[in-house]
Amino acid sequence: MNAATLFGVCGATLVGFGLYGLVTNPEPLRKILAFNLLGSGVFLVFGVVSKRAAASGLGGDPVPQAMVITAIVVAFAATAMAIALVLRLLQETGRATLSSDDPGGTDTDRGNA
């Protein structure tokens, strides 16, 4: 097993974990963490793509590297925005949940925060 395959398998595993967490976890914060795990897996795949194209004497194809930097910035911004939303939701309702049968607003007084 060469390095590219190893990293590819790691990336795929991370994607799998992340996807599972994103779909099954009801907690918004855990969903955000799962999204980051999923993102890391995808970034690893970009690394593999870069490495695989390295035949022409370069250490790696720079184009996927440029793309992955952009993608990391985007994922960071997305995480920041999601966290801000969760925090605001917590401030408004005293709890941060996505379950639709309890729209939060009614529980303001009880505030189990």
Binding site: P64, A77, M81, A82, L85, R88, L89, G104, G105
Partner: protein, 510 residues
């Protein structure tokens, strides 16, 4: 009409217009941060109309010349550089979105206006910046020539759209925004995996280059599937539509109009780009039928749920779910069994017209619903009695929007559904015709429920909570009239959708 610019891509004479279409909104956003909240509305009111003029110039240019506009950024040619291309599809969509956004801006002046001497507040500041950001992101979606630029555009669009949902900061809109964001993030990360796999296989993400190199292999199929699923989640196609109704119904009226009319069309446009431009020969008959089946399920499900809604804004939101379904019917109808690829023709034209007429009609309907909500203090459909007498212009705009959704002549919806039906008959796929007719019937059903309640006399004399400004009603009516008269496009620029498509067709391996 044959496209002369076959190979290689070079910047065309008016190509710089495309850069302007992206730089203007970006400059507007940056300038707003520099000058602050008291000036942001004025910046928007200078830039948005210039954006409209620009979009119309690009549209006229593409339509008259019959050629794509191309701009090679920094003169670095693809695959290393980035190309901006405006073909018929992008020019038409750009012009539509510019019209809708300008009308929304006029409408939003009442809610988010910053009068001279007023105290600076955050909500209008955020609204105008986000509106300009959405306009810019949509332009990149329409003009971007490679799949990674389109990924960035998609993310910009999401980041501009999500805060619009929760502008008022209520708990349930925050929740809707968070749910929307999570769906959108899952969608874009799936899209991103797809781009990585495609780059790994073909060493380019440029749409034109990729369309020449792409061929059937496992990595391509997986990439295309992941990207499509991701884009479906962002377009809110059934069964990944769950985020849409609360998000679109909870937002302020001006924001709902933008979200429903403009934002969902962005990811839909990428689905079209991906399957019609990058890999028209890859979808296969089964894939095309699957797209159509999801669209049909969306039409039936969205309409039935819309029929059962008690609140007007939710009804309109579920109607969006149903109307999005129509957009995906064009895939099986555009599928040519002889060449086994997606052909541009009346199905593609019908689908794009549906997107355009839905954008104008739905924006008008959300604006009208917003005015009704503001005037009555609620939007419960059962208690709408008398509103048609109190706000005749608003109800007229709402009804005209409905006329286009149902597909009565001479509306844009009529022409779109006519073209799709024609394609269904021509290709012998009667089942899609049945779905379309059933969808029209359902749409008339929920429009009838709303209109009959609104036209009924009030039980007690209506006391409107506010005086609805005339220009807000006019903005909604103008969009509804645009949607109604769009059917007349059959006499003129309907062939603009074909511009720049032949080029891609000729080089596709059979």
């Amino acid at each position: 009409m044959p496209d002369a610019t076959v190979l290689p891509d070079t910047t065309t004479t008016d190509g710089a217009l495309l850069v302007l279409a992206i730089v203007l909104p970006a400059a507007g956003v940056l300038l707003s941060f520099v000058l602050g909240g008291r000036h942001v509305e004025r910046i928007a009111f200078v830039l948005l109309p210039s954006g409209l003029v620009l979009a119309l110039v690009i549209f006229a240019d593409v339509w008259r010349s019959g050629h794509r506009l191309i701009y090679i950024v920094g003169d670095w040619k693809p695959p290393l550089g980035i190309a901006l291309r405006a073909d018929g599809l992008s020019a038409a969509m750009m012009a539509t979105m510019a019209i809708v956004i300008c009308a929304v801006a006029v409408f939003a002046h009442a809610d988010f206006g910053t009068r001279a001497g007023s105290v600076e507040t955050r909500t209008p500041f955020a609204f105008w910046i986000l509106l300009m950001a959405i306009w810019g992101a949509m332009n990149i979606v329409f003009l971007g020539g490679d799949l990674f630029t389109l990924y960035v555009a998609l993310e910009l669009l999401t980041f501009a759209a999500v805060p619009l949902v929760c502008l008022d900061g209520r708990a349930e809109t925050l929740q809707a925004a968070l749910r929307y964001l999570l769906f959108a993030l899952l969608g874009s990360i799936l899209y991103l995996v797809g781009t990585a796999l495609l780059y790994g296989s073909y060493a380019t993400l440029d749409i034109v280059l990729l369309s020449r190199r792409v061929h059937m292999e496992p990595a391509t199929v997986i990439a295309a599937t992941l990207m499509t699923v991701g884009l479906f989640a962002k377009t809110a196609l059934f069964p990944v539509h769950l985020w849409l109704p609360p998000a679109h119904a909870g937002a302020p009226a001006a924001a709902s109009a933008v979200l429903s009319a403009v934002v969902v069309k962005g990811s839909f446009f990428l689905v079209v780009r991906l399957w019609f431009d990058v890999m028209p020969g890859m979808l296969g008959p089964a894939g095309a039928q699957l797209f159509g089946a999801l669209g049909a399920a969306a039409i039936i499900f969205g309409s039935v749920v819309a029929l059962r809604q008690q609140r007007l804004k939710l009804l309109i939101a579920y109607s969006t779910v149903a109307q999005i379904g129509y957009l995906f019917l064009m895939f099986p109808l555009a599928f040519d069994t002889v060449s086994a690829q997606l052909q541009s023709g009346s199905a593609l034209t019908g689908g794009m017209l549906q997107a355009i007429s839905h954008a104008t009609a739905k924006a008008a309907m959300f604006m009208a619903a917003g005015l009704i909500y503001a005037a009555l203090g609620h939007d419960r459909i059962a208690e709408l009695g008398g509103i048609a007498r109190a706000l005749p212009m608003t109800m007229f705009a709402f009804a005209l929007g409905g006329v286009s959704l149902i597909g009565l002549p001479p509306s844009g919806g009529f022409l779109a559904k006519w073209l799709l039906l024609e394609a269904a008959v021509a290709t012998g796929q009667w089942w899609w015709a049945m779905v379309m007719l059933a969808g029209g019937l359902f749409t008339s059903g929920y429009m009838f429920i709303v209109l009959s309640r609104a036209l009924a006399p009030a039980e007690q004399p209506l006391k409107l909570r506010i005086n609805v400004p005339r220009y807000q009603e006019a903005a909604a009516l103008a969009l509804a009239l645009t949607s109604l008269l769009l059917g007349l496009a059959a006499l003129g620029p309907v062939d603009v959708f074909e511009v720049g498509r032949l080029d891609a067709m000729m080089v596709m391996p059979r």
